[in-house]
Each structure stands twice: as structure tokens, then as C-alpha cells.
Point group: C2
Chain length 429, copies 2
């Protein structure tokens, strides 16, 4: 039997404690699956006194994650501290420099510093693994890096922030406003300490940036993502979209084509009957498209102790089994700098605006759209009831982003629109 694999685990929150529990409870199973004993040498967290529901007394304690990462009795540094900079990054770098492999769940660190860390690790002959960084328990990093390795990946999409999906589906099912559900989710502890990471789409965009790099052999480019959160999604748009057979999702999409690399994370409409449309609550879904394999859809829990710890364990097991690959599937020094596409791929859009009760108002809107090159697939005008304006919904045919923007700029000039029109992309997945 090979030597034991010795871990140093930094960060003992929900996920860290979950990892410790699995390693303690499944010792025999993990040994059968890896041919090695997996042991914890030392742990580190902010508070030593806190009860984490698991016995830590047999492990050495380090207050400083850098000290933990560089211990002689640690082969693999398991980074579950979080945060794009600070102790997580310091300790990761220290671990690599000390000749350790790294397992991390830190999507922010990888999205911002993935290229540097990958180059550093590969120069040192070490691996960085991060299955838990994207879509929790779904083995999507593995599916993309290894399972689809015979493909040119053509597109990656997904709903990868469970909190946002919870908020959007709860708004629809309960008929509540964004503000009401946000307060509810916050009270239930569903949101990050900085909720902007969730509802601003940043957390999901971190994940998308990582997937893009693996999919297209490009350097992680978080800044290149067209990013929009869910804060401006209204219950009215959710209800109108539902009327027309759609759901609104915070959808990430990345594709590499002649136009360059196009990455977006934004609220989109998807058909209500599609797999993405039926994804309720905190579940995640990732769609991978390859030139050989076609479309692969993966669905599962995107967060939580068990699912995230499961992903961390799969990385640990891989290292124990001797699996070693470059961080992003190709040597970091060979990854191309991403050239961001200047504009989005043509798509149909959902438009909503408030039309004033004037003769010929609708004709003016239709003319403005037509003049900009935007053709209408479906339109609905609702009752004016008592109000002076009526909501008008339009589903366009596939149009270029340029044409759409021209139309949006022309609409106020019609003099019959009383608000800023809402425009949401429709993805037909």
C-alpha cells in the first residue's frame, strides 16, 4: 500500500467541517477507492474554541493558514477559507512554494488570480484542483476538463447561483417583489455575508470565468464578462414572461467564435418547459456543448455542506489516486489571452414598456423597432384599465445586439413610452 496522503485543512466553516466528517466516517471506503489512507495532519481556522460538531483533537492546530500550508506533514493543502485575496491566496501560494498540491473551493481567488496561481503551480510541478468552486456537488469541472476532452467545446451555460434561482422562483410562486424575497432569503441565511456577491451575479460570474477558461483554452477573464445581477428583475416581468411561456433565470453563457469570446451573466428568458426553465429553488444546472458530444446537461445541488464537501473529496481522491493534470486542462503557459467579442451574438429579446394612451401609439413603437431592424415575433398589449399607460410586451425575432440597442435608443423619441423599456435576452436552450 502507498504512503498515507496527509491533508492540512484551512477553514472549518460548513464545508470544512463537512470534509473533516467525511474523512473520519468513510476511512475504509476512501482507502478502498484510493489504495491509500487519507489522514488529516493539521487544521486551521479563525477560532479554535468554536464547536463545529466534529472532534478535532487528534489534529495539530495552526492559527495561521500559511503555517499550516507549509508544514512538513502536509502533502495537500485544502483551502476552504475563501476570499479572492488575503489569507486564502497567501496560504495557497505558500503551499505551492513548499511543494504541496492544493484543493480549493475558492471561485473568487481562481477567477481573479487563476492564471498566476496555475503558472506557479505548474512550474513547481504541483496541481490545483477546484471541483467545489463551481456548481457545488455537480462534477462539472471533471466533466468538462476530462469527460469532454475529445471535444472542441462550443458553449457553456448554466444557472450557477442557487440563491438567485431561489429568489426568482420564489418571487414567481409566491407573487412577491424582489425586495420582499430578498429580505426573506437574507433572514434564512441563504445569502453571502456580502449579498451583492449573490444577487449582483458576481459569484456566478466567477464560476463562469473558470468554466470558460477550461472550455476554450483561454486565460480566466472575469473582467470580460458582461455582468448584470437580478436586482432589477421585477415581479411584473416574471409574470409577463410566464404568460408568454418563459421563466427568468440568472443565466451564464460563454461561447468562443469568430466574434471572439463572449461571456455573459445576466437575467435571461428561457422556455418554461426547458430543463433550465424547470429548475426551481436552489438547484444548479450546467449545460455543456461540444462538437462531438452535442449537449450534456448536469443538474444537482449547488451549495450546502454535503454537496460541496463531496466535490472537495473528489479532488482529494483524485490526488490520492495519482491523477495529475494542469489546472485548467492545458498548461497555463499555453492558455491564450481571451479576446472579448465586441457585441453579443444575435438572439431574440423580450421587451416590456409602458405605452401611453394616445392614438397610434402602438404603430409608432412598431415603426421605431422596424426602422432599427428589429422585427416582432409576438406582441401583447394589456388593458389600460384606469391607468394612463398600458404594459406592452414584445418578443422579437433574432436580432443583433446593435439593432436592439438602436431600437432601445429610438424608442423614447416616439413620445409614447412613459418609462425606460426593459430588454431581456431569450435563450432557447
Amino acid at each position: 500500500m502507498a504512503d498515507p496522503l496527509r491533508l492540512g485543512i484551512a477553514g472549518l466553516g460548513t464545508v470544512g467541517a463537512g470534509v473533516v466528517k467525511i474523512i473520519r466516517q468513510k476511512q475504509a471506503l476512501l482507502e478502498a477507492r484510493t489504495g491509500r489512507e487519507i489522514v488529516i495532519s493539521a487544521v486551521s481556522a479563525r477560532s479554535r474554541a468554536k464547536d463545529r460538531g466534529v472532534n478535532l483533537s487528534s489534529y495539530a492546530w495552526e492559527d495561521d493558514p500559511v503555517a499550516l500550508a507549509t508544514r512538513d506533514d502536509v502533502d495537500v493543502f485544502v483551502e476552504l477559507v475563501g476570499g479572492e485575496d488575503g489569507p486564502a491566496k497567501d496560504a495557497t501560494e505558500a503551499a505551492i512554494n513548499a511543494g504541496k498540491d492544493v484543493v480549493t473551493a475558492n471561485k473568487a481567488m481562481l477567477a481573479m488570480h487563476g492564471q498566476t496561481l496555475a503558472e506557479m503551480a505548474e512550474a513547481a510541478g504541483r496541481v490545483i484542483r477546484f471541483e467545489a468552486a463551481v456548481a457545488g456537488g455537480i462534477p462539472v469541472i471533471k466533466a468538462l476538463t476530462e469527460g469532454l476532452a475529445g471535444n472542441e467545446v462550443t458553449r457553456v451555460m448554466g444557472v450557477m447561483n442557487g440563491s438567485c434561482n431561489y429568489i426568482l422562483t420564489r418571487m414567481e410562486s409566491a407573487g412577491l417583489t424582489y425586495e420582499e424575497v430578498f429580505a426573506e432569503a437574507d433572514g434564512l441565511g441563504y445569502l453571502e455575508a456580502d449579498p451583492q456577491l449573490d444577487v449582483g451575479g458576481i459569484d456566478a460570474a466567477h464560476k463562469l470565468a473558470i468554466l470558460s477558461s477550461i472550455a476554450f483554452g483561454t486565460q480566466v477573464d472575469f473582467a470580460g464578462i458582461a455582468l448584470e445581477g437580478i436586482e432589477n428583475v421585477t415581479i411584473e416581468d416574471i409574470n409577463h414572461a410566464a404568460d408568454m411561456g418563459f421563466k427568468i433565470k440568472l443565466l451564464g453563457s460563454a461561447q468562443l467564435g469568430a466574434r471572439g469570446l463572449e461571456q455573459s451573466m445576466a437575467p435571461c428568458l428561457v422556455p418554461a418547459t426547458s430543463p433550465l426553465g424547470q429548475l426551481d429553488g436552489g438547484t444548479n444546472m450546467v449545460v455543456l456543448e461540444g462538437d462531438q458530444v452535442g449537449q450534456i446537461v448536469l443538474r444537482g445541488a449547488g451549495a450546502g455542506e454535503g454537496p460541496t464537501a463531496s466535490a472537495v473529496l473528489s479532488d482529494i481522491v483524485d490526488i490520492a489516486r495519482g491523477t495529475r493534470l494542469p489546472t485548467f486542462g492545458q498548461p497555463a503557459t499555453q492558455l491564450q489571452k481571451a479576446k472579448s467579442a465586441k457585441s453579443a451574438t444575435p438572439a431574440p429579446y423580450y421587451l416590456r414598456m409602458s405605452l401611453e394612451d394616445k392614438p397610434g401609439a402602438l404603430a409608432k413603437v412598431a415603426t421605431a423597432l422596424g426602422d432599427a431592424g428589429v422585427s416582432i415575433d409576438r406582441m401583447r398589449q394589456y388593458d389600460h384599465a384606469d391607468a394612463a399607460t398600458a404594459p406592452v410586451l414584445i418578443v422579437t425575432h433574432t436580432v443583433s445586439a446593435d439593432a436592439l440597442n438602436a431600437a432601445l435608443q429610438a424608442l423614447p423619441g416616439t413620445g409614447v413610452i412613459s418609462d425606460t423599456p426593459v430588454a431581456l435576452r431569450i435563450e432557447k436552450v
Copy 2:
């Protein structure tokens, strides 16, 4: 750069030719992803003359797959011949004995001889990889063996024969009988040369046996699968099930519990709105459940040149990258003999029978069911119209298989049933 990885490919049907095409077209990409050149040294097939749409002139030709498998210039034997015995098995064994790794898409061979082959390969320090054997392009072997390695797997389910799923969904959408759609599918080339492999559920059961072994650390046990094909599924049952909110699927299910290992491949009802219920046409879906990760659902093309070749390539890339694990995720000598559960886990069932037009007929049926311990959740009796009998549909509450069988045996004794009742298990996934 490491030495090239040299392949010998036996079997140049759709999948074999697809593998050759990818290796020719994606040389640079595969080299970037593996750090090695992947080259084909030699190929083998039944007919050398046949045009396969790909240039084979630069590869050595062997008429005999055994000769191919043992060539000095072959590192990995790629077995795409098929068939549980004969040349595929002979050549696989020869390859292992000659110190080659093996990549195969052969579910039949693994389901029948997987344990022997795994023991042989592991004793020789070689690997057998078979991502393409189960669910085509979906990386489910990888997800289960590696992605869920930190879990005790609690259940594996799936729709894993696209031809059967095509037939069942086409029957429903076109209102055609089984015989009509079977003839249509056969004409379109959707069925195996021996269609019983498809419609008898054998092909899907081979796949389930492989997944069970990995999931539960048990020796492959094809004989232990309760197997029933789709030949007796009628359009009436499909329509009645739809009326009650269900779809009929050829569903595989395996779980290991106190009762033993329970494996079944049989037509079942699933909720029409569930992911499995919405799986139309030739697509496959596998559901993996683990104690940590919860439920993971994987969906994609289960057959075809591109998807299957994609899976074969992922195995080749893994070997090129140096990834090496035991065939079924644990050393074959440690796999337990499966103890088959004596009876199925309790479940709700769908029952259909033809009731004669006699006073008190329905009461007699209800009494017979109640006496056997089967309680009724929902029941529908249809018009007698002109006929002397009327269809009656019953959805039971969760009942034991013993109670269900007792009820099925008691029903003829009521004297009011004019046919043999149909009973289909309902899976609430």
C-alpha cells in the same frame, strides 16, 4: 514532452471511424490537453476494402484483432468490435497479457466478464476504461467513479437505451402501437442487429450492471437484474398513464440496502413533469444519488458516432494524462459478491384490468386488493361504451412486492376480471 501514446483500434464501424476522425482532426488540441502526441499505429476490422469516410492508409492493418492487440507499437488497445465473447474478449485478454491498457465501449463484455477481466488487468498493472459503454457521451462512469468518490452511493437510476425511449415516446406522440413503432424504428436503423438487445432491455441492463458494480463496490451481477423489456407496453397503458400524470419509461434502478442489492430494468411509470418523465426520443438520463451529494442528474445523447467517440476519447486522454484507477473504482479482488434482494422495495404501482359489466364488480376488486394489503390511492373506471368490459385503472399507495403479488394472484378469483391485470411500478423521481 512525453512519448507519444500509440493506439491500436479494432472495429471500424460508426464509433471506430469516429474515433479515428477525431484523432486526425484534433491532433493539436489533444496534444495541448495531454502533453503527448496521440497516434494510431494500427487498425483492424472485418473488411479492409470498405470505405469508412476516413483515410486509413498511414496505419498498419491487421485482419486479426488479437494480432493488433499484441503489436509492439501499440500502448493502448481500443476495442470497438463488440459482442460479449469472441474476438472482442480474445483480443482484450491478449492485450492485457501483452501489457497494454484497454479502452472499450463493450457493455456486454463487461457485464458478463467484467470481474474476470478487471482481475486480470489489475494483476498485470493495466487499466480497462469504458466510458463509452454506458450512456454514450454522458461522462457517467467518470462522475460515479471519480466525481462521487467521497460518497456512499445510495441509488443509481436511468433511462439508458435510446431506442426504447424513442419507441415509447413515439408511441405516445403518434398514438401508434408498439408493433407499428417497432417496425418504423427498425426501418430507420435505430435498433441493434438483434433488436431483442434493445427492446428486451438487455443492452440497458448491461449498463446498469456496470454502474451497480462501481456504485456499490460489488462484482458485476447481470444475472441478478430483474429484467423486463418493453414488448408488452401497450398504447393503452401509455395513454392511461398519461391521463393520470405519468409517462412510461424503461427504467433501470439499483440500490444497496439491508435487503441486499436490488437491481431492476423494467417499464415503470414516472411523473410526467419529472426530469425522467420529460426525456423524449433517443436521449439518455442517469440519476446518481449519494449520501453527501444528494441527487445528481446527467442528460445527453446515449448513442451515435460523435457522442460515443467523445467518450472513447475521454478514456484515451485520461490514459495519456497518466490517470490510472481500478476498473470498477476499487481493486477487483476487493469487490464483494452481490447478494440480491429477494423482493423489490415497496413502491406504489399502476394497475390496469378489464372489469366485466356485473353488479358489484368494482367492490369485489377493491375487496380483493384490500384483503391482500394493497390500499388504493386513486382509481378510474372508464365507460363500458358498447363493450362488455371496461378498463379500470388503479394507482396504489406504497405496497410491498409481496402484497402486490398476493393481490395479482387473488384478482382472477373475483370472477369479474376478463384479462390478466397489468402492474407497473411507479418511481417518484
